[in-house]
Subunit: 117 residues, 2 copies
DNA sequence: TATTAAAAAAGAATAATTCTCATTTAAGAA
DNA sequence: TTCTTAAATGAGAATTATTCTTTTTTAATA
């Protein structure tokens, strides 16, 4: 179930967003890095793959993707924003020591929370 | 149930902390401002009351007070730390629009959460 | 009163994010 | 295809809450 560049283009098109190499790279990076990367992780990843990209562009594009519900922002205890390409409802297990975020699905917890009016 | 300067001195003494005018002012400010003030709220409040204080001192003292469990840090959606002088266990209702934090006590919720192993 | 470790003052440094503005480009029109 | 232009990007300066560094002051104890 690897996501292709074509899939990414389609996601952008569905949202009526202009297709740019930067947007494709960034969305792909979020998927590939897939453990809630920081903006910096994404910048590093894209620059390693030989294409340069401006820092401001990355933040701008990430915001656009969040606004269009293609990715999500994840806050942690630290002052660095994390990004999440998984849009299905899920919780996070978070270790404040090493700043690791693990996806966590628990229907029982969901039920308890939704029953609590 | 107003907290006096003497109460504040005693709290500091109980924790084995040196009594300084800055520590007294800051802890008092947290109590008086009492709606989860920012470091800046505290600085403004103390400076209005005619005494000058260094920004770094306020952050340092707040950290000391947190370490000694005299106050708590409260994170919000914004990048500004809030401080809480109420040490009894309580939840927070948070409005991300106006950044207001309201204390919230709900034993039923506490029970549900503690029963959820 | 003298001693001294701890605290505070002052202001520079940090760093993630945002902002500004000149340049480039994607996408639709002709 | 070429033209047009609103939108996107690049480059780097600006922002800002917080931390750090160094010097000076002070609270607590003897
Ligand atoms: Mn996740
Ligand atoms: Mn509170
Ligand atoms: Zn860990
Ligand atoms: Zn509100």
């Amino acid at each position: 179930m690897n996501i292709t560049i074509e899939d990414i283009r389609n996601k952008l098109i569905e949202k009526g967003l202009k297709i740019t190499p930067q947007r494709i790279s960034i969305l792909q990076a979020v998927y590939v890095l897939n453990n809630h990367p920081t903006a910096d992780n994404i910048i590093e990843y894209i620059r390693e793959a030989h294409s340069n990209i401006a820092t401001g562009t990355v933040y701008k594009v990430l915001d656009t993707l969040v606004e269009n519900q293609l990715i999500r922002k994840v806050k942690t205890d630290r002052d660095i924003m994390r990004y999440d390409g998984i849009m299905e409802k899920h919780h996070h297990l978070y270790c404040s020591t090493c700043d690791l975020i693990e996806d966590y699905i628990d229907e029982e917890l969901d039920n308890i929370l939704s029953e609590y009016l």
